[in-house]
Symmetry: C2
Subunit: 359 residues, 2 copies
């Protein structure tokens, strides 16, 4: 990955907008700019980038060795144990005055401490916006992650049995995702059966799936720090006619949205394509979420594919297309692929089959 | 769990401190107060608690069904799709004027939007402080999670083989953690071998562990929303003498800290107990992190066991004790248990063996 080039783009942004430098503390953005590894939820790292393009990564003694071995393009600065991060950051920033910070990430508390040391100006989501357009190396990592989850799903379906618990099903899938090369789960695996399938975020439980119930699986792994995100709905036993119909409607909506996705369409318009299909069949009120979201270093990032995003998709955006229908007390179906937007259309990055599967 | 009682304690706090109400958006605290489920990193839920003890949970249509079925003690309010959260929150809060917010969680951006609707005052970490003292039901959930990870570790060691990759080892452990009842991983499993073991946060890689290398495993699951967190170091092949010595020093330091842990000792003093042992053997500069941290709904929460925490531990605190020694280019050892502080001492909640294991 060309981290120097990414840092260079940030420096250009700083010069254009009159900043002396910026402080980046979102660990996903720090990883994007330096390759410095992170675990989800870890904190305590901060990257200072000057308008001259010098990048300094301030880390604790805990993370120093790994940062030295793995990061690229940034000077690594080790804090003393117990030393406040912001004090070291002030030293690193030298005489910089107008300094940008990520107002959509920094908490009110941290801001209070930081503004004692710096003259701060909101920088908004400038780095997140850069991250929305994937370069070929990022696409390769995403496809590596999807390859692992695709192969794992294929191996898992032959191990699924009518009557097994959601947790048992999740354990099979996660085992194969690891064996196929996933370096971590991209998010907490969802397995939600029967009436629980109406919980779009349902964590696996000890509930047994059987009797033709629809079971929603939503899963993904990381490869070199990039995420995959896939949903499929399998039937445990022969499904009832209504759920077969619902499955076919969701698949129709998903295929329609994928056919419509291209550079220039807005997130709202693309959401409308999937929604129109589901509404046309009379199930509109059961499609209770947006059609999709961007995926990259974070499993949920920009751009959104929902009614609130009036911005146009551009080549290099990687988004999910995942309509769903959730009927309270009855069941739910969701089908999700990841696509990359291209000039004339898009390329579907998910290879795993979407036909109706009965286990 | 007695969610009404927890809400009642928050209401008392609000009255005592002159608040009309508070807004709680940290998903872990929302779960603590209402049992409303969450997936790590999910957002879009907000809980409003009035000084009269009325709790209203505002959720999206996506989460409405699950919130209705699973939360307790709070009224569930569904937003319209696309409706801004803060607008609905303003309606729910009625005429409330002085409203508390979590300044250590809310971002500067959200604060900007929120303060247009409310007269806001920092509430600090009041809820987090309540969460630090576990009640018997919370301890039971934590012990359930630890039971699953303890049994999984025991099953895993018989499947570990000299020469297997870190990812293969992680896949075995995670499979068993699921099968033993883990509803989710509590965090990204760490498996770090040989020189990679000096990365305290090392994600599993395709590196093969062999030749007597020390391999650090750091792992945990969730049970009913509560986390376990355990570290063990296994040798893949017969270890060199120095690493045997390092193992024994880390174990000595860990046992010393566990013996010293009781109500009234400060986090700093307890950290000092483990550190003194390691320094006494001349390895002080290789112990590059604090001795431990609180665990509960979050895998990292208060109270800290490190040099920055001058506060005293109290009965009901659940903390890890996890000293480590990491020698660059050579290897690392970490051993971690979870203990609950009691009046006269503590109880070790982790049962898995700590003797030196060679696979």
């Amino acid at each position: 990955m060309n981290f120097k080039r990414r840092i260079g783009r940030v420096a250009e942004y700083l010069v254009e907008n009159g900043f002396d430098g910026m402080i980046c503390t979102n660990p996903e953005s720090v990883f994007y700019l330096t390759n410095a590894p992170f675990v989800t939820g870890s904190a305590g790292k901060a990257l200072y980038i000057s308008k001259d393009g010098k990048a300094s990564l301030v880390v604790s003694s805990l993370d120093f060795e790994e940062a030295c071995d793995r990061s690229e393009g940034a000077e690594i600065v080790k804090m003393d144990m117990g030393e406040p991060l912001f004090e070291r950051l002030r030293k690193v920033a030298g005489g910089a005055e107008k300094v940008g910070f990520e107002d959509d990430f920094v908490t009110v508390r941290s801001y209070g401490a930081l503004k004692k040391k710096f003259s701060l100006t909101e920088i908004g989501t400038a780095i997140e916006k850069m991250r929305e357009v994937k370069d070929p190396e990022e696409l390769e990592r995403i496809e590596t992650a999807l390859g692992a989850s695709d192969r794992a799903a294929a191996k898992t379906i032959s191990n699924l049995r009518d009557g097994m618990t959601e947790i048992e099903a999740a354990s099979e899938l996660e085992y194969h995702m690891r064996r196929e090369g996933g370096e971590a789960l991209a998010f907490e695996t969802i397995v939600a059966s029967g009436p629980r399938a109406v919980y779009p975020h349902g964590m696996p439980s000890k509930r047994r799936a059987s009797g033709g119930e629809a079971v929603v699986f939503d899963f993904g792994v990381k490869a070199s720090g990039y995420c995959s995100d896939t949903s499929r709905t399998f039937f445990f036993g022969q499904p009832r006619d209504e759920m077969v119909k619902v499955y076919d409607i969701v698949l129709e909506a998903q295929n329609a949205a994928i056919s419509a996705a291209r550079a220039g369409i807005t997130g709202k318009e693309l959401d409308g394509v999937a929604r129109a299909v589901i509404e046309g069949h009379g199930y509109g009120k059961f499609f209770v979420h947006g059609t999709g979201h961007g995926v990259g270093i974070a499993v949920h990032e920009g751009p959104s594919v929902n009614s609130r995003n009036e911005g146009q998709l551009v080549p290099g955006n990687v988004v999910t297309i995942e309509p769903g229908i959730y009927i309270p007390k009855v069941g739910g179906v969701r089908i999700e692929d990841m696509i990359v937007i291209t000039e004339g259309g898009n390329r579907n990055l998910t290879r795993f089959r979407k036909d109706r599967i009965v286990v």
